[in-house]
Symmetry: C2
Subunit: 362 residues, 2 copies
């Protein structure tokens, strides 16, 4: 018996998810480069590569260091890295160890990247840039028609250019009036990437990589435009994807095991709170995560060590000490709170996988 | 130069906050038992005890283990611990090492606690119970008029009874129509604790400890009812307290140092996202944290590694590479994401404090 709360990965569900992502990419005719920020686990990364992924996507130099140290050979830091201070040296070291691509959305940042890996150092390292463009999420990324500015600056600075990428994060949402938000975001993604690719081509800059992808938009991704998909969450699934309709509950591979510590009429309180599930709670979800075995239950409040669950009146209220499986709203946040994942197969413990890149934020 | 993002504690602000909390408790005539889940730091706990705290509050057996290992001698696990499995043995070990009080809101849980520390073990350990009552937050806790049921069961099972406690978490909020939510919650706290104390007394059970407290309600806490206060956040401060009006920005001792990685008209994006700040975002706050040096800026969106900040049009937009100080909405969540705190005095690095109890959720 293991003390709750802890995170469990059902390895058979994980394997089915990895196989489905690989099959989808094959059917679209695009490369799969899953985002490892979701799981931060070399064990899961190894399985993704075994399913045919061409490499991994990561969010930080720190994550790149961890996955390089665990044998990855091809990494994309899909982030506008500002390569100043110790980070410059760390980046150069990774660029020596693996085939490395880094995101950029400004001329200034590519100059910093070039200075980090090339100029003034005896150990110059090859580095390829992918230009980030905004396809509607309005986070980082240039307007797509300006992608060539950054690509040209990268070439001028002595860096390679792989191509362009975007993150259609506006696929996370529920539309009013029957609008399919996920399909609309995938269409935006395709349009923006096509404009960006054409901008590079018009400037005489080859654009072999056209990289898109988010888990909710992946089903509608434009295989005629994209050359690469970068889904993250689909490996493990979470309550957000369930509520978006991207997946069913049976595809949620990661859950938190939690114990009922308090109960009253219609309510149980369990010991997995925001320090286990994460506090992510967009307006369009029904609560702070979901109870996998009781879909009508709602997590109405979350403290650091309490989830307050409104239990359906027609279902028997769990006893004190009962163990429930909760799906976090956002699996990436939950994994990053844990030091290890307890791996189960058919309900029995099978392995412990370290969350090797937990906290690798720099 | 240190790579961002990272968490910084301004030690002078921290000291002022600790002194203020101690002075407030003295003025009220109550004991101070600060909640260590906020900082998870033995270095900060030591300073709290030096300021006169009678002991520490923690949320889990795991936190109790950490603080006991670092020299704490008097701990209150203010949580309805379900003492089954390995946790029972761990609890008994802690109960041998320190003066230990544990929360309970059910007869079943006190029986489990008694079995854990007393029955069938050669090494019986003393353990005191505090009965948790609900003062309006509606999380865990019995109705106050029923507190004696659990206290009597504890005595029957051979445990000691310290008294009663509550957490007036409904002090977190902004009232409509001029209602002072924090003062109202403090009044609820006082009423509920008085009822619970009187219920124990009526049952012939002494009630030396009447423990309340949350940072927002502490200013209005009823010194004529309470014997003990358990504020957590006040040690470090955060954007929630700033927006509630509990503190001013000058009392925020913990900030995340973040770098501008992308910018466009009126917007900067920095590299501290939800994996550094935490994703806590109650409906009544203005964004996903605050920019300490630019109070008019608003963090309008938060991804795992991006904070999107709407910058006031009449202020100069920070350059790429500029470093900003962000106050997390909820400091307890941010600290729990970090392995260490960078301690500064007058802007210069002074020490590194490990977050020793990070992830101690069980």
């Amino acid at each position: 018996m293991r003390d709750t709360p802890y995170l469990v990965v059902d390895v058979d569900v994980l394997e089915a998810n990895l196989a489905a992502a690989a099959a989808h990419a094959r059917a679209l005719g695009v490369a799969l480069r899953p985002h490892a920020k979701t799981h931060k686990s070399p064990d899961i990364a190894r399985r993704q590569l075994a399913h045919g992924a061409v490499g991994l996507t990561v969010a930080t130099v720190g994550e790149a260091e961890v996955f390089a140290a665990h044998g990855a050979t091809d990494l994309f830091i899909a982030y506008p890295v500002w390569a100043e201070g110790p980070r410059a040296d760390r980046l150069r070291t990774v660029a020596h160890a693996v085939r490395l691509r880094v995101g950029a959305d400004s001329v200034e940042s590519v100059r910093m990247l070039a200075a980090a890996v090339l100029a003034g150092h005896p150990g110059a390292a090859p580095l390829a840039i992918a230009v980030e463009v905004d396809s509607g999420h309005h986070r980082s990324g240039l307007p797509p028609e300006r992608a060539a500015e950054v690509a040209a600056a990268a070439l001028d600075a002595g860096l390679a250019v792989d191509g362009v990428f975007t993150f259609p994060g506006h696929a996370y949402g529920v539309g009013a009036g029957g609008i399919d938000v996920r399909a609309a975001a995938a269409a935006d993604e395709g349009r923006a990437l096509a404009v960006a690719r054409d901008a590079l081509t018009a400037a005489g800059i080859p654009c072999p990589v056209v990289s898109g992808g988010s888990t909710p938009s992946a089903a509608a991704a434009r295989g005629d435009v994209l050359t690469e998909l970068r889904p993250g969450v689909s490996a493990l699934g979470d309550a957000q994807q369930w509520e978006l309709g991207t997946i069913g509950a049976e595809s949620i591979a990661l859950t938190a095991r939690a114990t009922v510590v308090s109960r009253r009429a219609g309510v149980v309180v369990v010991d997995a709170g925001s320090k286990v599930l994460g506090a992510d709670r967009p307006a369009w979800v029904s609560g702070f995560g979901r109870v996998v075995d009781e879909p009508e239950a709602r997590i109405t409040a979350l403290s650091e060590h309490h989830a307050t669950i409104a239990w359906p009146t027609d279902a028997p209220l769990p006893r004190l000490g009962a163990r429930l499986r909760l799906a976090p709203n956002h699996v990436c946040s939950a994994v990053n709170l844990a030091d290890e994942l307890v791996v189960e197969r058919a309900g029995a413990e099978h392995a412990i996988w370290p969350v090797s890149a937990r906290g690798a934020n720099t």
